[in-house]
């Protein structure tokens, strides 16, 4: 394990940092919940990929005692706004429980905002709920507070799941929130090396809306076009970083438009026109239609992402695979990682390890046995000669 974070600081003072983001995800497709230590171990092993300006973890199945409540994690960059937000939440929802998110004081972390979590139920009799539908209503409340400019950001809003993120190295953020003590059946994690946008607590990954979360290595060059498309659909970008559009695009395509994952990923990472031309007629018509209808959600530029919602974890790269991805399985566990070594450290023995091609998703589904690539062909005639 690479744990000596102090040695990662640039000793030459030449302002150069050689990094890239790191992503790590684990799912047990039987729904078996497991503690966060393995995902922390995997992410910390890729500490080298980040520079201390952001890390985070998302976990599904972590609040069984409030499984029927929307769990809002709210970051207060202005603590004065808390009473105002709570008044609004109490007006918009039935507040079942409220508490500060437990954390361990860590002197090395700076600018930590106050973070609270609220377990909320929707009042079906609320007129807006019957007008918009429950999920759309929740989205509208999140967007309203996040765009209100009062220094409060709801960065996690699904049921029985939560994101824990901030500005620090993977081990620091894990220690700060006590991530290892939570349990869930899907975990995703991120180690950040910000390139174009500020390293602030809200800008750390995962990004989320309802129970969708995304962690991302890369840059979404099409951010401007994607953001404009999503704004027309009522999504507002407030976290000042490109990855946010990916979470909203996932919500738009797969919740609002009910596209299956296999189709939605072909919007985000569309096949090239040359490839579409070589497809059989039915398929060609489908892919042409997807590119025409959802052209504003084509994500260009390099990316590896891990998307998750209850019941599904999806690994995906851009169609030219300009960022690394490794998938692996052991029993009912699926792993997606930037680097193989992180997976091996968590699970030295694996059933399969493969490297999905660009635009081809790796999908873990609750209750569905993993679909694995064919077993490797071995044609060796003699024992391995160790030179």
């Amino acid at each position: 394990m690479l744990t000596r974070m102090s040695s990662l600081e640039n000793p030459y003072g030449d302002d150069k940092v050689y990094d890239a983001c790191g992503v790590f995800g684990m799912m047990d497709v039987t729904g078996d919940r497991f503690g966060g230590q393995d995902v922390v171990t995997g992410l910390v092993n890729m500490t080298e990929r980040g520079n201390g300006l952001g890390s985070g973890y998302a976990v599904y199945g972590c609040y069984p005692e409030h499984a029927d409540c929307y769990a809002f994690h709210v970051m207060y960059t202005d603590v004065e706004s808390r009473p105002q937000v709570e008044t609004r939440l109490k007006g918009d929802f039935v507040m079942v429980h409220a508490e500060e998110v437990p954390h361990n004081p860590t002197p090395e972390l700076h600018d930590a905002p106050v973070i609270w979590r609220y377990f909320l139920q929707v009042d079906a009799a609320h007129p807006l709920v019957s007008l918009l539908g429950e999920l759309e209503y929740v989205v509208s409340r999140v967007m309203e507070i996040n765009t209100s400019g009062i220094g409060a950001y709801i960065y996690s809003s699904g049921k029985n799941m939560g994101s824990f993120k901030g500005v620090g190295f993977p081990q620091q953020i894990a220690d700060y929130f006590g991530v290892a003590e939570y349990e869930g059946y899907i975990w995703t994690a991120h180690n950040r090396f910000p390139t174009n946008t500020p390293g602030w607590w809200g800008g750390a990954h995962p990004f989320g809306l309802l129970d969708w979360t995304v962690v991302h290595n890369g840059e979404i060059s099409s951010y401007g076009a994607n953001r404009r498309f999503l704004e027309m659909q009522g999504y507002h970008c407030t976290m000042t970083t490109d990855t946010e559009v990916m979470a909203y695009a996932a919500d738009y395509l797969m919740r609002r438009h009910s596209l299956p994952v296999e189709v939605a990923v072909k919007v985000l990472a569309a096949p090239l026109w040359d490839d579409i031309e070589r497809m059989p007629p039915d398929e060609r018509a489908l892919y042409r239609a997807l590119r025409q209808v959802y052209g504003g959600l084509l994500m260009t530029g390099p990316f590896t992402i891990i998307l998750a919602r209850h019941g599904e974890m999806i690994g995906l790269t851009d169609r030219l695979r300009l960022r690394p991805i490794i998938a692996a399985s052991k029993g009912s566990r699926l792993y997606v990682s930037s680097e193989e070594a992180a997976v091996r450290l968590v699970s030295p023995e694996l059933d399969r390890l493969w490297s999905p091609v660009g635009g081809e998703p790796v999908i873990g589904r609750l209750g569905v046995p993993l679909r694995l690539p064919a077993a490797p062909v071995v044609r060796q005639r003699a024992p391995v000669a160790i030179a």
């Binding site: 394990m1 690479l2 744990t3 000596r4 040695s7 092993n45 890729m46 080298e48 040359d274 070589r278 030219l320 695979r321 690394p324 490794i326 680097e339 193989e340 070594a341 992180a342 091996r344 450290l345 390890l353 490297s355 091609v357 660009g358 064919a374 490797p376 062909v377 044609r379 060796q380 005639r381 003699a382 024992p383 391995v384 000669a385 160790i386 030179a387």
Partner: protein, 257 residues
């Protein structure tokens, strides 16, 4: 985790890399090789430590047990590295001389900007392998891939040799890579198996092997078979063809007219 001190047996220096940061591990290697002239090293519990083999300027054989990190053997100039496991991304980045033998797969951009020496990969490789390889005078970097490659093999290749044997493909299965040799303007890619034209980058053509090619392929296949325990004659049964750039300066008219 306690970091064990290196122990030297009569012939082999053993290093337990568990918990070692790459800077600590590589400092130990520099001291052993450049300082003490040790010629045989075995490293165990390797989990992602980067740059192993960089900055060692003597003849040494290093066995790596585990999964070495990115940029294995980057800028390497002479050592021989044997990986008992898989290599991650950018193995052999700008490597100048020496040999890397991988008993497994290798990741993306293997042999990136490689200048000399040989990388032997038993199984498959990732994207953009051999990107920007370059040959100069007696330096001819070579990558032998026992399995198949993912897309953009030999991208911007300027020199050197890539050989893809396809031994991990199932019966009737073909190489799936596209954009092979995109931007290629030097060197040669030998392929065992079949490709169709749309898998090739613009400006790259398929050709039959001539006698000199056949001698080179036979030598490389023999070397591969010896390292990994294959029957060379069976592999040499082919079919082989080669990919070459159709122009040495495909964009000459764009930039210098």
């Amino acid at each position: 985790m306690m970091n064990a001190q290196p122990t030297t047996t009569a012939t082999t220096l053993q290093i337990d890399a568990a918990g070692l940061h790459y800077r600590q591990l590589n400092a130990q290697l520099r001291e052993a090789v450049n300082g003490q002239g040790i010629e045989h090293i075995a490293i165990t519990n390797v989990y992602g430590q980067r740059y192993i083999g960089t900055d060692l300027h003597r003849t040494v054989e290093i066995h790596i047990h585990g999964t070495p990190g990115n940029d294995l053997a980057s800028f390497m100039d002479g050592p021989r590295i044997i990986v008992h496991g898989n290599a991650q991304d950018a193995c052999g980045n700008t490597m100048n001389d020496g040999e890397v033998i991988i008993h497994g797969r290798a990741g993306d951009v293997t042999g990136h900007s490689m200048r000399g020496g040989t990388i032997w990969v038993r199984d498959d490789v990732g994207y953009r392998v051999g990107i920007h390889m370059k040959a100069y005078q007696d330096r001819r970097p070579t990558i032998v891939i026992g399995g198949t490659a993912q897309h953009f093999l030999g991208e911007y290749m300027a020199g050197g040799v890539l050989l893809v044997l396809g031994l991990t493909l199932g019966p009737g299965e073909r190489h799936a890579a596209s954009f092979i040799g995109t931007g290629m303007h030097g060197g040669v890619i030998y392929v065992r198996g079949e490709l169709v034209d749309h898998q090739l980058g613009k400006g790259v053509g398929q050709m039959a092997l001539d006698e000199e090619d056949e001698r080179l392929v036979a030598a490389l296949v023999t070397g591969y078979a010896a390292r990994f325990g294959y029957d060379a004659a069976e592999v040499l049964d082919g079919p082989f063809f080669k990919l070459m750039p159709l122009s040495l300066r495909p964009y000459g008219r764009l930039y210098a007219y």
